[in-house]
Symmetry: C3
Subunit: 401 residues, 3 copies
């Protein structure tokens, strides 16, 4: 019994014409069926590794992963910028025009939007499913290559899961790269996810997961890193670059941490806490906010204005310490016109703690603004008196000397 499969040497029983070049989805589903037929003992189902050598593969049929311990692994995330290519005009003299490595073109013809769906009912939750070091390429955003919209999803974990890994992957030109529902102890590390509408979206609920050491850059329509209903999430050591509606978006997330990242964005709301986000740490991050400079995308933004806050906090008891903010937005680009931009907006919640942050800006900014619904915010050494704007009287403030 083998547990090491190669998509290029597998024959689908009863379908000799199936190849991974025509439809790698058929192939991998057939391999999974084989694994299930081989591993029938409840006490011994070690799973397998499915290897995707470097090559150009088409995926027309969604892969349905419903076994634990399956590793799908390639040799190369194969990223190249499709955004540059599609905006470059004549590329006939180019060496190559497409991503490479172990490249799976997401071209579903089966009515599904996902290349891979990880889903199982019953007990236990799926465990230790791994996606590693291959490329999921959405190929095109259609008539408007700058739209970030094509309905395609790279990987959807659609039922509760434990100790899964998405590592070393490349994803490009997907409307949604990775979507994970109800994650426990998930690792999203070492990936290259760029030019997707949304890159990482953790939905439902989750705990004790990490998004670490990635290079991530989403489109203006979606999220770089989004999490909802999580607690104990660690977002650390990532380099998140434009565009992305936000760099890190938390919705009803508690007791989580955003630390030691480099975050670069073109719009307000680079870190956006929505709903009831409490007891989170934003520490030791570098923020750089500027405006879009790439012509074809200058018409787009995320719809937020400069009063929303580069960091927008809803919920209480969060800690914001030791961050650097570089804000480089010309006054003429500010909306509402004439407004003084906000770096940290405490939009709601009690007892947030903001200390030892430094803001660099050539134009006047409010480093911390407290909306009227907030109470008990503590603001220390994070700007001058003139840079502080409390719309309510319950707070403590110590100006940076």
């Amino acid at each position: 019994m083998t547990t090491v499969y190669d998509v290029t040497t597998w024959s689908v029983p009863g379908n000799p014409s199936a190849t991974p070049y025509n439809d790698i989805g058929l192939i991998i589903n057939s391999i999974i069926a084989d694994i299930k037929s081989q591993q029938t003992s409840q006490s011994s189902k070690p799973g397998a590794v499915v290897y995707i050598p470097p090559g150009d593969y088409s995926l027309k049929t969604r892969v349905n992963v419903d076994i634990s311990y399956l590793t799908i692994r390639g040799s190369g995330h194969g990223f190249t910028s499709l955004s540059i290519r599609y905006n470059a005009g004549n590329t006939s003299s180019w060496h190559e025009i497409n991503p490479g490595g172990s490249r799976v073109r997401v071209e579903n013809t089966d009515g599904n939007s996902e290349a891979f769906r990880v889903y199982r009912t019953g007990d236990p939750r799926l465990s230790a499913v791994v996606f590693e070091n291959f490329c999921l390429d959405g190929v095109s955003f259609g008539s408007n290559q700058n739209s970030y919209v094509n309905g395609k999803t790279g990987i959807l974990f659609d039922s509760a899961n434990d100790s899964c890994r998405v590592e070393g992957m490349g994803m490009v030109y997907l409307e949604r790269g990775l979507v994970v529902r109800d994650a426990d102890a998930l690792s999203v590390s070492g990936n290259f996810l760029a030019e997707n509408g949304t890159c990482v979206k953790l939905i439902g609920s989750g705990q004790a997961s990490k998004v670490t050491d990635n290079l991530i850059g989403a489109g203006y329509v979606g999220f770089s890193i989004f999490a909802e209903g999580h607690y104990g999430l660690l977002v650390s050591g990532n380099n998140v670059f434009p565009r992305g509606k936000s760099m890190v978006h938390f919705k009803n997330v508690t007791r989580s941490s955003i630390s030691a990242n480099r975050l670069h964005g073109y719009y307000p709301g680079m870190v956006n806490f929505e709903g009831v986000c409490t007891e989170n740490l934003i520490g030791a991050n570098h923020f750089f906010r500027e405006t879009e400079k790439f012509g074809p995308l200058m018409q787009y933004n995320n719809g937020l204005d400069e009063l929303f806050g580069l960091v927008h906090l809803e919920g209480g008891n969060n800690t914001v310490t030791g961050n650097h903010f570089s804000f480089d937005v010309p006054s003429a680009s500010v909306t509402p016109t004439g407004a003084t931009p906000t770096i940290i907006l405490v939009a709601s919640g009690n007892n947030n703690y903001i200390a030892a942050n430094n803001t660099v800006s050539a134009t006047a900014v409010k480093t911390v603004v407290l909306d009227s619904a907030t109470t008990g915010t503590k603001v220390l050494d994070s700007g001058s008196q003139a840079q502080f704007e409390p719309y309510q009287s319950s707070y403590s403030f110590r100006a940076t000397p």
Copy 2:
């Protein structure tokens, strides 16, 4: 001469009945013997890679690694929660009940407690031994599956070593996962070590090592991450979850760093500095302390009371900055009864520096307590006057405004 071995295709000379399914220890020891017989030139001993495909293997004989440059590699850490399973009652309808991936069941019948021992006398120290991406499964804790005690150790590095790696491994239900003596420039990264009595234990001495980017959760009887006699250790980017007597325990450790981690625990002493721990940094970490909620384990704890400190510092000149502490322990659960819990206890030592830390608690706490043996502690912006309790007069204090 091959340097790439597969445990499933190796035949033990003179022992044709040996298989990796019966005793992978015999197989790997035989492979190591082969490597040594092939590589006899002092100037050329490149080592080899031993591959463990996904599968269920039993280890009855300890593997003795006494050569440098050996990589033992699988395809999948294969973690699943045995704690949930063993506490679940009837699991007859479950899809699977055991860990998977490249799963090695630690079932020594040779009188040894370790699955792998890395040990050599003479010069030089063993270098660049690598354990990567397989599963060490202790199988059972015996009559009490919640005891975290079975005498089993996954990997023991037992002599001084340099530039070794333990990466991408899974370990579960071992009394001790990884134990490393006298490490230099060790890398413990990207692992999933959970439901072991102790997960990572660095003993003897050590320098310039790192424990980074791991998911780790030990039992109530042992350590998540323990280090003694080290200096220059970096513990960063880990998500450490319960239980664990502590999340990070330093004993006589100096000039080391605990930064950008997410730490979650059920007992006092989440970070525990024992003995003479000096000049260490605890920076930009998220701490979440609550009480055990899982019924079968609610009877257990680590024996410490709430006056011990969520962070307990022995030794001087340590720095604690930019951390968030969430403390969610109901008054009724506090021991000693009626006590005001301590977040940071400076138990001994001079000139510790504690600044810009935020504590969130629904109940009254002392954010910093100075024991009488301490002098010169500096406490800045880390709580109110009422939250500060100095049992001695040599200190500086500035309350959070």
Copy 3:
């Protein structure tokens, strides 16, 4: 068509005597030629993986990588300390004396100094070239094994590149390990680079790159981590040990981040900002400065004196927060004789922000010195009044209480 190559099984057309043991450069260049001959369609050039099994290989001919999506991968970084060996005297009783793993001895006889050069003209830039998990061994520094000089370079990226990776590599006894020109979204992670003159050198320009989770230690003649003309670089989670002229050297670098590292050095200028370095963050790092203790290397240093600053800042608007500095240099070792050593020197630039840093030293130091060319520096809670030395009157200062 294969896309998986093994250097030990490849035959060079027309050159049957070529082997990877004699010249792995010839082999890999021949493989690359084969890939190019197989992949001629502009729309489908997925590249390939070249596998280097554990073994001892000589490289006499430079490998020229001029295709995207090439992964060159081994099984083992194979580091061992050549510095210890060459300074050990009689090693005839040693088990082994050389590095191992997938070990490539850099022994160019082709007039080039690099083992690997990645270079291509035309569009697009080379993308997703990967070096992974093998050893580049410079073998010797010649007549003075402590010179760190032999003219050898491990890998040179010599034209603009995107989304490339150097991960899990080992490099030793090279004058220059990794040199990358004009990097975009480069990942240098999980490597073991030690005993090279220079370990990582990012030249020209660059953006959105990361140097994370490495073990790095350069020679006294060169750089541990050097970057020029970059912005948006993330240096995080590294353990950088001696020697190295500096641990992190930025030249005209902006809006970058050095966070959550452990940095250990023997000379002043551990972090050295040269030229116009602006809006960078140095946060949550542990610094340990001592003097050389290893006899054979005690005669060497980087030529800087203790007034240069353990951290030397040129340029403005940088943020230095939440760092720990351990300074352990006996007064008798200080140059200029009798000088009071400087921890942070603000040598030029406006509006640098220095807050919540702690310095531990048995001897008197100036924790922050402001040169006369600086203005508007803010220094908070980073030392006493006596430890602060402003050579100019434009600043704010708040002493650590």
